[in-house]
């Protein structure tokens, strides 16, 4: 069974005819060719597929595209300014070496954006707890935690 889905992705309308079982992440990666959102597992553990849906971080592997009908989605491709200037959270990851292979990074940044808007002065413990749903195998989290704390302060509670 195929269905038509339409939503806003990174501020632009996006629509396609897809199989009903199509996951949101598959729609984003395959139909829209926005390949910055990654798939690292099949049990909703790793968080590499995290995007913002109506401003909240969700795992795009865990809902079908239909469930995002009419939603406002932001992926990693929509985070920097249109002129290419990095968002303060992205800049914080760069300055604090919060990424190595880069594969978990988009999910880390998207999750951090949602977390930081309500935790501008977060503690290390809060940041580590906020990463419960995001796995990284390269960094040992040390510099991701530093990045998110720095990024949250730079954001001042606003995405």
């Amino acid at each position: 069974m195929s269905v038509k889905v339409s939503m806003k992705v990174n501020g632009k309308p996006a629509a396609a005819e897809v199989e009903a079982r199509t996951l949101l992440v598959t729609f984003i990666r395959e139909n829209l060719r926005l390949t910055g959102t990654h798939v690292g597992c099949d049990t909703a553990q790793c968080g590499a597929c995290t995007v913002l849906m109506n401003g909240r971080a969700i795992k795009s592997c865990s809902i079908v595209a239909m469930q995002a009908e009419g939603a406002d989605i932001m992926t990693i491709e929509g985070v920097a300014k249109p002129d290419g200037t990095l968002h303060p959270m992205q800049q914080a990851f760069k300055e604090n070496h919060g990424l190595q292979c880069g594969f978990c990074t988009p999910g880390m940044v998207m999750n951090a954006l949602d977390f930081a808007k309500s935790h501008p002065n977060c503690t290390e413990k809060e940041v580590r707890e906020s990463l419960e749903g995001n796995l990284c195998r390269c960094t040992g989290y040390h510099n991701i935690v530093k990045s998110i704390m720095a990024g949250a302060r730079a954001m001042g509670g606003k995405i």
Binding site: T43, E129, R137, G140
Partner: protein, 781 residues
């Protein structure tokens, strides 16, 4: 004048693309007329295949083809080769059973590939794979390496499931030393089986061009040239020049992406059959079943000491579980990269190690971050710590009494350490960890009802395996050099081609720092290219923490040639003698004069040779070099771990972790620290949370990230780390390698700390809350 770049915390050149979603990993590559493959995998650990019925799958929607082992056999597709021949204690070659890309008549582990479906979409391929009907005759399985010998035989060539029994050292001398020892410490260890779990799952996307009669394979690989060599020469029988292998952005490897895998072979072969690009991307469940695992040793280890705690001899007997087939470098990990490290940082004069490597009905085991060296370090450092407790010596003091202090040092297990300063890293670690304050902290913990323990690990590792001729004499079937090329463009910018591969290590930055510093150019003028056999002259890839020590040195050699040629050109341009030309940070100067030419002017003259010594010199400024090291490098360091154990729940918290490493010269401290952090987390994962388990029938019990626990952010602490530098003596950069140290030293430090807290000597990894709680109950009983 530019600020020195060596030793500078330069932010990474690669980060912008990763932070904006512009990275290009293998699964991101979509080719025109792309098709998709799905593999049908064995649900049984050991079974004969009576019949494979594919008709229903073939007629399913979107299906282009279904292939089985019979199709590959008919097409004369060979088995996967092993890259290292081990000779056993009787002088016989190890047993090398066939390793077919798709099962031939029998399956030997859960997850083995039985058939492949290629379809228009990935979903259609998966749907159709479920329609394949396989008639299996299930056989008894063996998963425990120590029971392999009496188990049902996996392979005809190895009826007792033994690949080899191998030994290193003088057994008679070691036995004699033990018989005279004042004290013997004896422990049995299990070095738990681990699943690497790079967050990017493996992927391969192959296409065939009729116009070129050639193939292109995009693959998540740590070493594209090795992948090409093995696949063309040993499996598909293709001319190497007709195959291009590209390893684009790769999302972590940790060893698991070194090897040639059956899926890579199958999609490459199928792309020509179908004249369509064929892509396969692993999901995590498949990764657990099919990516090479790591470790899985059972070891009986003994240390003989005199009454003063001086080590007299070590005797080690290890059973190494290789899994169902020989993965690419499986055979050298529990031998050449394990037994040779058993001297550690100590002067133990006599060491004997015997390794029995066996086949079992489990996923093949190969190198995983550290590869043999974590297993060796675990043996040595658990023994040393336990010996200190038994002799009532301070664990720091017993190490100091036995440290190697003069270099070069020839160990009794073949390696010759060129340099080191173990006291320097030890004393720095003791300071940073504030070991003097431990008793007070322990008392405070006790007030909260928590048991506090401290543990140490003084590790040594051997990086940049070399030289090729020695490795060859030990059975290596590959060279262990590296290649690099410097292409200076007419405008004076530089492209560097390296055979090393970066999958998180930041080579695009570190290597650019080396080149920009040596040439005196801005770092923006230097571009690093890696991971494409059509661009890079040759390469052995990245593993064993070799990239900078071996790959970086090849680049330095090529740079020296660039400067040497530049001097000839500059001498002509300035009408001076070549011997009078000096190169200093971007400028060729005539010594003792104010005459000079910028690097860019010389480059331009090389490509627009109007005023140029064409009779003596070729135009252009492009040089390459191959470098084969004369020895391994030997990073070393001390790790100090403090834990707090909850007596009621058995939960262990890492209260602090201090790591002081000697990696030789550090090019970019920020990147080096990041490598240490990541290694430590994996080592802590091995110690506390990670353990791959099979049931007796060979079913994988830990087959997802919900069942196999890799550390999360709240499981690891903020690390306290520092470095000390004793430069490597045999490469021009003085570098040693930093990628694996954390995973090598951490497990022993953590377990030494927990056993200290509990007051026991035996504790299995992973020391989960349940394991620790049971240990406490047993002790109390």
């Amino acid at each position: 004048m530019n600020a020195p770049l060596i030793g500078a915390r330069i932010q990474r050149k690669e980060d912008y693309r990763f932070l904006t979603g512009a990275g290009q990993y293998t699964d991101d590559v979509a080719l025109p007329r792309q098709s998709h493959a799905a593999f049908l995998r064995s649900p049984h650990a050991h079974a004969k295949i009576r019949k494979v019925s594919i008709d229903q799958a073939k007629s399913a929607p979107g299906v282009l083809a279904v292939y089985t082992g019979a199709d590959l056999a008919a097409a004369k597709v060979g088995g996967l080769p092993c890259g290292w021949l081990i000779t056993d204690v009787n002088g016989q070659p190890m047993k090398e059973p066939p390793y077919p890309a798709l099962a031939q008549g029998k399956v030997r582990h859960v997850g083995e590939r039985v058939a492949v479906v290629v379809a228009e979409t990935a979903a259609q391929a998966r749907d159709a794979a479920e329609l394949i009907d396989v008639d299996y005759e299930v056989l008894p399985a063996v998963t425990d390496g120590t029971k392999a010998k009496g188990g049902s035989a996996l392979h005809e060539v190895a009826p007792d499931n033994t690949c080899y029994v191998w030994a290193l050292g003088d057994k008679a001398a070691v036995d004699a030393a033990f018989s005279k020892a004042a004290h013997v410490t004896k422990l049995e260890f299990v070095n738990n089986r681990l699943v690497p779990n790079a967050i990017e799952p493996r992927a391969a996307n192959a296409s065939y061009s009729r116009a070129e009669d050639g193939y292109t394979l995009y693959v998540a690989s740590q070493n594209p040239h090795v992948e090409r060599l093995l696949m063309t020469a040993f499996v598909l029988g293709l001319p190497e020049n007709k195959v291009r292998v590209v390893a684009p952005d790769v999302g972590g490897g940790f060893g698991s992406k070194i090897y040639l895998y059956p899926e890579d072979v199958v999609v490459t072969w199928a792309s020509k059959q179908l004249n369509r690009p064929v892509k396969w991307t692993s999901d995590r469940s498949e990764a657990f079943l099919s990516d090479a695992h790591g470790r899985d040793h059972v070891t009986l280890a003994e240390l003989a000491l005199d009454k003063n705690g001086k080590f007299l001899a070590m005797r080690v007997r290890t059973n190494a579980n290789l899994g169902a087939y020989l993965s690419t470098f499986a055979s050298c990990i529990p031998t050449i990269l394990y037994a040779t490290l058993l001297a550690g940082q100590y002067t133990t004069p006599l060491i004997y190690c015997e390794v029995t490597a066996v086949f079992t009905n489990t996923t093949p085991v190969d190198a995983y971050r550290g590869a043999g060296r974590p297993e060796a370090t675990y043996v040595v450092e658990r023994l040393v710590e336990t010996a200190a407790r038994e002799l009532k010596l301070d664990p720091v003091e017993i190490r100091r009494r036995n440290f190697i202090k003069t270099f070069p040092y020839q160990t009794p297990v073949a390696l010759c350490y060129d340099t080191g300063n173990y006291e320097a890293t030890l004393s720095a670690a003791l300071d940073i960890a504030n070991v003097g304050g431990f008793q007070k902290r322990k008392e405070e913990s006790l007030k909260k009802g928590k048991l506090r323990g401290i543990g140490y690990a003084c590790y040594i590792e051997a990086c940049g395996i070399a030289p090729s001729n020695v490795a060859g004499s030990l059975g290596a079937r590959a060279g262990l050099f590296e290649a690099g090329e410097i292409r200076v463009h007419p405008t004076g910018t530089v492209t560097v081609f390296t055979g090393s591969h970066s999958h998180g290590q930041g080579h695009e930055t570190t290597f650019a720092q080396v080149v920009a510093d040596r040439l005196g150019l801005p770092i923006e003028a230097v571009e690093i290219v890696h991971g494409d056999t059509s661009k890079i002259l040759f390469g052995m890839g990245t593993y064993g923490s070799r990239s900078l020590a071996v790959g970086g040195t090849a680049i330095v050699k090529a740079l020296d040639k660039i400067v040497a040629k530049g001097k000839k050109i500059a001498a002509h341009l300035m009408e001076a003698a070549e011997a009078d030309i000096e190169y200093d940070r971007g400028v060729f100067k005539v010594a003792g004069t104010d005459k000079q030419k910028a690097f860019g002017e010389v480059a331009f003259a090389a490509y627009v040779p109007h005023n140029y010594p064409l009779d003596k010199l070729e135009p252009g400024l492009n040089e390459n070099a191959f470098y084969d090291p004369t020895n391994f490098t030997f990073p070393a360091g001390t790790y100090v771990c403090e834990v707090e154990v909850d007596r009621d729940t058995g939960t262990t918290e890492i209260a602090s972790f201090t790591a002081v490493d000697d990696f030789g010269k550090v090019i970019n401290p920020m990147i080096v620290e990041g490598q240490v952090h990541g290694g430590l987390a994996q080592g802590i994962g091995q110690a506390l949370t990670e353990g791959c388990r099979y049931d007796d029938s060979g079913q994988l019990l830990t087959g997802s990230l919900a069942d196999y626990s890799i550390p999360r952010a709240a499981d690891v602490p903020t690390f306290k780390i520092d470095t000390r530098e004793t430069p490597c003596t045999h490469n021009p950069l003085g570098v040693k390698g930093c990628g694996e140290a954390g995973a090598i030293g951490a497990p022993a430090a953590v377990i030494n700390a927990i056993t200290d807290a509990l007051g026991v000597n035996d504790l299995a990894m992973p020391a989960t809350a349940q394991t620790v709680w049971r240990t406490l109950q047993k002790k109390a009983a």
